[in-house]
Symmetry: C2
Subunit: 207 residues, 2 copies
């Protein structure tokens, strides 16, 4: 099992709001975030790989966990700590057989979470609240749905979907970690946005 | 170095002409082809992975080489013999550091071919002739351009781009292998199309 715990704030970068992936990563790390996921679906793989190398270096400076979304090849080639996959990606159980880093899996419900537990190092659950960033995110599960998943699995549960400083407090009371995209990436000041979220999370969890 | 030689007919599957990838692969293998590349750029990676598993099994039955285009992760997860990458994919020299299978690289000219020789197991060179299958295939290099590359590298040279039964004879006199897509995949009878190409190639090279 990957010893480093998936806890607290889990920052997902996005280039959809004008910032570069590496800019979001740097500001979030400076503000104290220690888990960064690179999620890029449009750029050519060579570009994603180059960005991944930059974020790997940044995460090394802050001793942070670096995870690549979708692409196991880019995760391996950029020496990332892990890969996060969903239903449209190669299967996580197969990935686990050839990759000794963190394997995170997106699940939509309790059954999928229990099934993933046998090979995943953490599950991503959501959307907890309505979100614009991931149109195909499926049905909103709310805090109730999140709680149901948290009750059936022992591996870390990462909540995702519409999480921001107004609702993060309730979420972190249930989930082990909270993943945010637009709350930071769409902000005029991602450093400040990260700080605010961290304060609420730390306050709630006495990290 | 991968001991198995990249020689003769190199069949690239395509789902753009109505056949499924695995159907093209099966018919080509039945006709005697012994190198199959899966090249799919639009399907979700989970689907590409599933198709790759099917073609891996087919290639095992015929003791053929199976290569995946672009995706090192799918190549590794489907136990392919190799991966073929170009400028838009993660870099081949890095891939070679973590992958012990065949690594093929697309090159456009002599300089790129010489540079690739230090890490690639073969180079793909072209387009030798005008081709519709790969709109962004770059400038046509013709038989002259192909010859120039063949003269400067020792690793196998795979010619690609607009190759069919009318011009394959001249090409195989220069290149170690000839890669075809539409000549087989767009045919009403891919088995027959493969047989015809193989006969000309075998006749030329006394395989
Ligand atoms: Ni582990």
């Amino acid at each position: 099992m990957f010893s480093v715990k998936i806890r607290g704030l889990y920052v997902i970068t996005s280039a959809d709001f004008g910032w570069k992936h590496e800019e979001i990563a740097e500001m979030a790390l400076k503000a104290g975030a220690r888990i960064i996921q690179l999620r890029e679906k449009r750029m050519p793989a060579r570009k994603i790989y180059e960005v991944a190398r930059k974020i790997r270096k940044l995460c090394d400076e802050y001793d942070a966990i670096f995870i690549v979304n979708d692409r196991l090849d880019i995760a391996m080639l950029s020496d990332a700590d892990g890969v996060h996959v969903g239903k449209e990606d190669p299967p996580a159980d197969k990935i686990k057989e050839i990759f000794d880093g963190i394997v995170g899996v997106s699940v939509d419900n309790v059954e999928e979470a229990k099934e993933a537990e046998s090979y995943a190092d953490y599950v991503g659950v959501g959307p907890v609240f309505k979100t614009t960033t991931k149109p195909d995110a499926g049905e909103v599960i709310g805090l109730e749905g999140l709680k149901k998943v948290k009750e059936v699995v022992k591996i870390p549960v990462v909540a995702i979907g519409g999480i921001n400083k107004d609702n993060v407090r309730e979420v972190i009371r249930i989930a082990d970690a909270v993943a945010v995209v637009s709350a930071i990436a769409s902000s005029k000041d991602p450093y400040k946005a990260t700080k605010e979220l961290l304060e609420i999370i730390e306050n709630e969890t006495q990290l």
